[in-house]
Each structure stands twice: as structure tokens, then as C-alpha cells.
Amino acid sequence: MKKRIAVYAVWAVLACLLYFFENHTDTRIILACTLFLPCLPAVRHSLFREDQRTRKAMFLPRTTRSMVSREEDEPGDLRAYLPGDPVSRIHWKLSAKRDTLLVRPQATSSGQEETVSDTAREDSCPAGQRMQRRGLLIIALSGLLALVLLLLLPAARLGMQGILNRLFDASEASNAYLYDHFPVPDTQPVWPAVLLLVVMVLALTAVSLLTGTRAPMLFLIFACTVLQIYLGIRLPAGTNILLFTGLLFLLMARPWKWQAARTILCSMAALALAVLLLWPGMDVTTEAASEHARDWLSQTFLQISGTVRETPEGMTETRHVHTQSLTEGDLPARSARTFRLSTLEEKQISMPHHVNYLRIALLLLLTVVLLVLPFLPFAMLNRHRKQASEHIASFQSADTREAILAIFQQVIAWLEATGNASGNLPYARWEADLALHLSPEYALRFAGCEKLFEEAAYSSHPIPEDYRQRLLNLLRETEQTLKARADWKQRLRLIYRECLWT
């Protein structure tokens, strides 16, 4: 394990050095990946935590293992080890499993024995987990391989740069299109748009908190990323970090556990680091320092090689000016864009005819999405309300059986909304958990009414009418019990449900 950490450390140091001396997008990506990769909990687990032996067994070819397994099919042939038995006849695998030495009566071929000694220990983790880990390890390894290829193959690097350039091009083009066709005066206030966006974010957050789905959060993260990359909308770095951190937190914090929180914190730190590294202009000090270091190195080299020359002062200066223009030069860039738009030839170069339609279509799509999005939460709420009213109507339906099923499902929905559900157990076996989480009296009442539900659901004889009232009583009691014991998050959800259902 120490060896693996050392290898990783060396790799990280190399990435840092590379970044220090060759400060451009490629090296930033490499360093960011290097730092980010072990922060993924599963990769970290498979790279650092795992037992050496497990990995060995994991990579053992399958045929060898099945050969061993076939042998184990006749446990009747084995007997306990007695002093004097040849060591070569000990069945190591089964001995390890049963914790006593077992011996084969007849000697078997030596080939099998060799393979047996390889997998002598059963590993402790179940095979499903092992498969998962194997997959993750393969992903991590292929990621590393891709990075190495990116470093070594100039063609791959150029291709990568090409892709980035194209993305940049596309966003430039769409910006140009917007500037050209929808001119907006500088005095136009932006707050209505900002307000719309804020309302959208709040609504989506509320929906995802209340209904317990993560899809809106994912969508928001995706939208924020796409908006920034594609349209060239750039928020200040600090705001961005806060925004993404907050979104990630909301996305992940739902089943609240200390372990999950730790993972989230790690991911956030990694994310912040990655953003800092990838953000152009955020690392002026690094760049300046690395330039100084390079100048110093070249000077030393020249001094050693004997041809001492003065460093031309202008070189460092120009670089600094260049860097500064990247960070502060918002104005010249903008004026350059306006200029470019006014000349016809430039426009044709930046917007080839065949790409134009695609971009316009994409823009239209984006506009539609932005227009529809704020109304989505309301549409969802409306649908839920409709379902709820239909469900409530069936409580009083003429068919007692149907009414009982509906009421009991409602009870279950209440329990599930507050996290008191016992997963995929039949309702008949929920009593123990309910007694533990809520109260023994309630659990008893639940078990009694559950019998009625079963009778309604699975029998074919007629159902007495008084069952309906008993189940309605249970429903009322469930609501009261849950409300009395809810924490703030659950209470929020209960209030939401109540608004829906009454």
C-alpha cells in the first residue's frame, strides 16, 4: 500500500512540476485530474485502501478459480490431517476455509496444487463488491492511460486543443450572432433576467427538496456548466465556486450521514482546487514565479555552459503584460469583438454557412428551455395535486376493497415520506421497525390494520364495510404520530404533502 501511495505522490509531484514550468491548459487539466481522481471515494478505495491479497485474487484468471472450485465439489473425499501425512496432500484451500488441515486420500496432479496455493485465502469482501471495484479500477487506469497518451502523443494533444478551440469558436460565434441580431443597449437593466434566473433556481431547489428527486439539481449543475462554457458567460470565480459547491451540497446531502458529508467536503475541496487551476488569470503569481524560475534556470545553464549573456529584460516584461491583459483586459477584448462584427469578411470567417443553422437551432432550443423551465415546477405540482385528488376520491369509493387499498397505500406513502419505510419487506413485517422508530402502540395498530389490507388485497370473499373506518382511523393516527416526531426537514415535507392532500 505504501508503494502505491509513493507512486501516486511521485506522479503528483511530477504533475505539479509540469504545471509549474509549462503553464497552459493541458498541464492544468493533468494536474486537476491528478488531484481530483483520488477524491472520488470509490477510486480512492480501490487505489489506497484495498488489501493487496484481494487485488491479486481479483486479477487471477477465471479459469484457474473455477478449476479449484470443481475440485471442492467432493468434500466427502477429504479427511482430517494426521501427523505423518505428506504435506503435498493437504487441500490448502478447504483447510483455510474450515480452519483445520484437510488431506486428500489420493495424490492429485501437481498442476492443480500450484493453482490452489495461489488463492489460498478467501477474501473477505463479497464478489459483487469485487466486481464493482474491478470496474472502477479499470476506469481509473484507463483515465490515467489517456492522460499519459495525451502527454506523449503530440497528435492527441493537438486534437484536444482542436476540440477546445472549436468549443471556444462556437461560443464566440453564438455571441457574435447575439450581438449582431439582438442588439441590446448598454443602459438596459439586467435585473429582470437575474430575478428570473434566481426564481428558477429557488423553485427547482424547493421542488427537489420537497419531492426528494435529484433530477432538478443535476439539471441546474448541467445548465450552469453549459451556460458558462458554451455561451461564454463568466461569473467571478468566487461566485462560481460558491454556486457549484452549494448545488453539489444540495445534490448529495439528502441521505445525511457523516461519511457522506466527508466525501462531499473532499469533493468540494477538489472541485474548488480544480476550478482555481483551470481558471485563466487566477494563477498570475504562479505564472510569474515560473517565468522567473525558467529565466533563472536558463541563465544558470548558460553560465555553466560558459556563454554568459544578459537576459533581455523585455522578454519577462512582455509576458507580464500579456498575462495582465488576460486578467484585466476585458475592455480591449470587447472592443475587438465589436470591431470584428462590423467587418463583413471577418463575420464570414467566424461563421461558416453550414454551421450557422445548427447554431441557430441550438440557440432556439436553449431559449425554449429557458422559457419553459420556470414553469416546470408548477406543472409538476399540478400533476401531483391531480393525482392526489383522484386518490382521495377513491377513499370513499363504493367498492370497499378498492377504498381500503387506497387508504392503506396512503398510510404507506406517509411513512415513506418521513423515512420510516422498511424497504422491500412485506408490510406484515414492518411492525418491528415501526415499534423501534415510532412507538410500540402505533406499531400494534399498524399490524392490526395491515391484516385488513392483506385481506382486501389478496382474498376473493366480500369485505366488511367497517374496515374502511378502521383504516381511516389508522391514517389519521399515522398523520398525528408522524407530525409529533418529525424533524424540520421531515416537517417541511409533511407540510408539502398536507398542502397537496387537503
Partner: protein, 318 residues
């Protein structure tokens, strides 16, 4: 538990103490009209239990101790030449007039004897020299096999184990039960105190009732999904057969009836799932240290049970 069955169980508890759940399962198998495979160590009271059952319900009891030289004709009978009449006369075998047959150490029998027995179990009739003889009703086989000291035995093939409704094991009694047993045997044999509390006809009637219990489509759907999931499970070489699904349904019905209900629930299926299915599945890699029971538990955990499944609208519509 139903009062009539409660009576039978309390009679049986006179001879075997502390094994209430296994006794219950055996009676369920009897009600479901299936056969039982007892996988057990010697001397835990398999024979005593079988005799006691036959006395408590008034069944005709036969016992066959299998050895490699027990022949099929010992079981199904044979035809003998009668010099006086000059005709072949059929001599009945052990199976002919038995309601309850205890096949001791079935894995010691030769494979042709095993298959003769298993065929009779399945068809519930014998055919000797072209003449077919129906077996008595009910016909229950309790076959035992010892899992220790098995050198020179002929294990039942996987395909034939599948014909048993359930595989059970009695296991050793606990401290209290063994003390009670030793104390009881000081005087008379407790087997003599077992009284007939249920007639054969009543049992046949119960079997009919059990067979006609209500099983809703949602339950059948659950059984189907369970068995289908076992067939595609990555750890299993062979999953639960269609016959296994049929037996699961029958056993679940018996469980529901014993519980005093006239309808089957998902809980009934789960309760009998382990006993009915553990001997029907074949692990792909037994060296993994994962038992058949663990895989079945995984299935129970992962396959959505009918109570939950109903929320998708299936149950409301049916």
C-alpha cells in the same frame, strides 16, 4: 394455527420436543401433497417423527432402509409364478399400501432403485408388467439422507432432488428439549401415547381445501418474478424450475391455510421460499463462500414484493 392442526402438533410434540417449526413445515408439505427430503445427521428422531405422524393422522406407515442391494422390485412389487393356477401372481411391494413411506438414507440406494421410487412419487401409480396400480391417497414420502459418513453413496442427481417439495432438517435438540426427552423415556415409550386425532378422510378433505385457496394474480406474478430472477442471477448455474414455482405456490397455500386464512399473501411465499427453493438452485462457483440461502435471501431482498408492487397499479386493477 388451525385448531385441528394444533391438535396434531401437540400430539407430535409428545415424542419430539422443541421442533415445532419443523413439524409445522412437515404438516404443510403433507397438506400441499408433496414429498419431503430430510437432510440430517443420524439419530435426531426422523423415524420416530414419521411413525408418530402416521399414528396421529391414522396413516399406513411403511419404512424402507435403503442399501445398495435394495432392488426396484422391493418397492414396486413383482410377479411370481403360481404353480397351482399356472399364472403370474402380483406380489405387492413396499409402496403399494403405504400412505407414509420413510425412505431412510436414500442416497445409499442404487440409481435404478432411486429412479423407481422417484417415478412412483411423481406419478402416484405403479406399473409392473404392464399393469398399473394406483397408490393410496394421501401418499407422502419422507426421504432422508445423511450429510456425514457418505463414502460409497449415490447422491441424488440435481434433477431428482427437484421432485421433492421441500428440503428440511430437524437438527439437534436444545438443552431443554433433550432433558425433556430423556425424562420422558424413563418409563413407557411415548410413541404409545400418541393418539389418532385426525382421520385420513379429513386430511384428504383438507388437501382439497388447500388446493382451492385463493391465489391472486399479484401473488402468481410475484412467484414468477422470483423464479425468473433466479434464472438470470449471475451467481447461479441453474435457477428455480417451473415445477419449483408450482411447488412454491402449493406450499404457500398450505402456509396460508395453517395460518387460518383462505387467501395467500406475499408473506406466505416468503416464509416457505427458503425451504422450497434452497435445494433447487445450483451455484456457479461454490468456492466463493456464498451459500444457496444467501443467494435466495438476496432474491427476496431485491425482487419487489407484491405489497409494494401493488403501488404500480397492478393490484388495484386486478
Amino acid at each position: 394455527m388451525r385448531p385441528e392442526m394444533e391438535k396434531v402438533v401437540s400430539e407430535l410434540e409428545k415424542v419430539i420436543a422443541g421442533k415445532r417449526d419443523v413439524i409445522g413445515k412437515i404438516l404443510m408439505a403433507l397438506l400441499a401433497d408433496g414429498h419431503i427430503l430430510l437432510d440430517d445427521v443420524p439419530g435426531v428422531g426422523k423415524t420416530t417423527l414419521a411413525v408418530a405422524i402416521s399414528r396421529a393422522i391414522g396413516l399406513a406407515y411403511r419404512r424402507v432402509q435403503f442399501t445398495p442391494d435394495v432392488l426396484p422390485s422391493d418397492l414396486v412389487g413383482f410377479s411370481m409364478y403360481d404353480r397351482g393356477t399356472g399364472r403370474l401372481v402380483y406380489q405387492p411391494g413396499a409402496l403399494n399400501h403405504a400412505n407414509l413411506l420413510l425412505g431412510d438414507e436414500i442416497n445409499r440406494a442404487s440409481s435404478k432403485t432411486q429412479s423407481a421410487l422417484l417415478e412412483a412419487m411423481e406419478e402416484r401409480q405403479l406399473t409392473v408388467d404392464g399393469v398399473t396400480y394406483p397408490l393410496e391417497k394421501p401418499f407422502l414420502v419422507i426421504a432422508t439422507q445423511n450429510s456425514v459418513g457418505t463414502s460409497g453413496t449415490q447422491w441424488l442427481p440435481f434433477a431428482q432432488v427437484d421432485r421433492f417439495l421441500v428440503r428440511l432438517s430437524l437438527g439437534y435438540p436444545d438443552y431443554e428439549a433433550q432433558m425433556a426427552m430423556l425424562r420422558d423415556r424413563q418409563g413407557a415409550n411415548p410413541l404409545d401415547q400418541v393418539q389418532c386425532v385426525l382421520t385420513r378422510e379429513a386430511l384428504l378433505g383438507m388437501q382439497q381445501t388447500v388446493q382451492h385457496l385463493t391465489t391472486k394474480d399479484s401473488i402468481l406474478d410475484y412467484i414468477t418474478r422470483l423464479t425468473m430472477a433466479s434464472r438470470t442471477h449471475p451467481r447461479l448455474e441453474a435457477g428455480i424450475s417451473p415445477r419449483g414455482a408450482l411447488f412454491l405456490d402449493r406450499m404457500a397455500k398450505a402456509h396460508a391455510w395453517m395460518d387460518g386464512r383462505d387467501y395467500v399473501t406475499g408473506n406466505d411465499v416468503q416464509a416457505v421460499f427458503m425451504d422450497v427453493c434452497a435445494h433447487r438452485i445450483l451455484l456457479r462457483d461454490p468456492t466463493e463462500g456464498i451459500s444457496a440461502e444467501q443467494v435466495l435471501n438476496e432474491l427476496l431482498r431485491d425482487v419487489e414484493n407484491p405489497d409494494h408492487h401493488s403501488r404500480l397499479g397492478g393490484l388495484l386493477k386486478r
